[in-house]
């Protein structure tokens, strides 16, 4: 199923994937994501932004997620190139277009790479557990777990309903949906919603019958713990960030003086 395969890299982690980055505590990686996002705002020199991007790409190579990440990064870079070309055509000035867009895309590139590194090396379950450890309200982390668990299921349900429509001779293209929205509404939306309602009722009944009380005091077989690796990694990243920031500001002062 196309829809399902699109979501699966994010919602289901391959158990065979294991690396130093995978084993880091999700809270450390959340700190990295937040730190990198803030740093990208403060860095002005594009050379340092690209250096930061390179550091992140090295981390993706270490975590062996670079290949699966490539298609998403390529999508982003294609969008960047199209934007530069469109602006160059509008203003008739390629230099202006490059100067206008380069820092923006460098910053966004850094943020997206950091985000994808987090997404590809952290399982949704670990993310929910990390949020619980950070005193995130239990009902919200329960809702998050349900959402992450059921994104692929609902995508599969939508695919099954679509196939059932095809079997009955209704092949819905984009033009058909625009021309006859009632086909899409009656054939796709209503069955999918009723299926969603039934599934949510079943989950609620199953949870309540097992004494579920909103997720408070829930125990887990695998507990998260910040270890020595996390500390080393955090110190390394903070130091690298400070060095980049210092060099960026120093070079700015030189230009200003």
């Amino acid at each position: 199923m196309i829809i399902e395969s699109f979501f699966s890299p994010f919602t289901a982690q391959n158990p065979e994937e294991d690396s130093m980055v995978h084993r880091l505590d999700p809270r450390t990686k959340m700190g990295l994501l937040l730190g990198v996002t803030l740093l990208s705002v403060y860095l002005d020199n594009i050379i340092f932004l690209l250096t930061l991007e390179m550091v992140l790409i090295v981390l993706t190579v270490i975590s062996r997620t670079f290949r699966s990440m490539m298609r998403f990064l390529l999508l982003f870079f294609t969008f960047g190139i199209i934007s530069v070309v469109v602006l160059a055509l509008i203003t008739d000035n390629l230099n202006y277009s490059l100067v206008s867009f380069s820092p923006f895309f460098a910053r966004f590139g850094v943020m997206i790479t950091a985000g994808l590194l987090f997404a590809f090396t952290t399982s949704p379950n670990n993310l929910a557990r990390a949020l619980e450890k950070m005193r995130f309200p239990a009902p919200l982390s329960f809702t998050l777990t349900i959402t992450l668990r059921y994104i692929p299921t609902l995508a599969r349900e939508a695919g099954a309903i679509m196939n059932a429509l095809k079997l009955r001779g209704i092949n819905l293209s984009l033009w058909d949906i625009i021309r006859k929205p009632s086909y899409f509404y009656r054939g796709m939306i209503i069955p999918l919603l009723i299926r969603t309602l039934k599934l949510s009722d079943e989950i609620a009944i199953a949870a309540e019958s097992r004494g579920f009380n909103g997720g408070k005091g829930r125990s887990s077989l695998n507990t998260l713990k910040i270890g020595v690796n996390d500390l080393f990694f955090a110190v390394f990243m903070v130091m690298s960030g400070f060095i980049l920031l210092f060099m960026d500001k120093a070079s700015l002062l030189k230009i200003g003086g």
Binding site: F108, I146, Y150, I190, L193, I203, A204
Partner: protein
């Protein structure tokens, strides 16, 4: 926000609705990205379809705070998992909070059709304003994303949000008739 008033049934339904909303959002945004790199077009395209799903979720649960939960959970997914873009977290949280606050003041709770329509409109207005002003902090060219364009995009998404809310409330009526949602 009092989370104790949300039952397990409410939380599971909100979770499923967010999953559905996420699929709708991803499919429409990807569909639009294939045709145009124009950033506001993505917000506009997803506004209508996402609002339909949200309106159904609000009508079924009916409690104040539902939109904030939707905003927080959707923000965590969009900020950390897919598309893993952190500024989306405050965007969706602020949108949900604003909608809940307005409905609490004006209607008390979600129930009547107008409350669903208003909530969807407010959410889209706030989200579009926030998400389209974020790029400026990252050095986006102001010649491309002008304040007028932001205002126009916000108005269009609000209108589409209101329309989505309206369609959603119609679907809710149909689901009530079918017995899928209790009166």
């Amino acid at each position: 926000m009092n989370l104790k008033k949300f039952t397990t049934r409410d939380l599971t339904f909100i979770g499923m609705i967010i999953a559905l909303m996420f699929i709708v959002q991803a499919v429409t945004i990807l569909g639009v990205s294939a045709f145009t790199p124009f950033e506001p077009a993505k917000s506009v395209a997803s506004a209508f379809f996402v609002s339909i799903v949200i309106a159904i979720g609000l009508a079924k649960v009916g409690k104040i705070g539902t939109f904030t939960i939707i905003g927080v959970v959707n923000g965590i997914i969009c900020g950390f998992i897919m598309p893993a873009f952190l500024p989306l977290l405050p965007t969706t949280v602020l949108g949900g909070l604003a909608a809940d606050a307005v409905i609490k003041i004006k209607y008390g709770e979600y129930g009547v059709r107008n409350s669903l329509i208003t909530a969807c409109g407010i959410n889209q207005l706030v989200e579009t304003f926030v998400i389209l002003t974020v790029p400026f902090f990252f050095g986006f060219s102001q010649t491309i994303l002008t304040p007028t364009l932001i205002l126009v995009s916000a108005l269009i998404t609000t209108t589409l949000g209101v329309l989505g809310g309206f369609v959603g409330s119609k679907i809710v009526q149909e689901l009530k008739k079918a017995g899928a949602i209790g009166e």
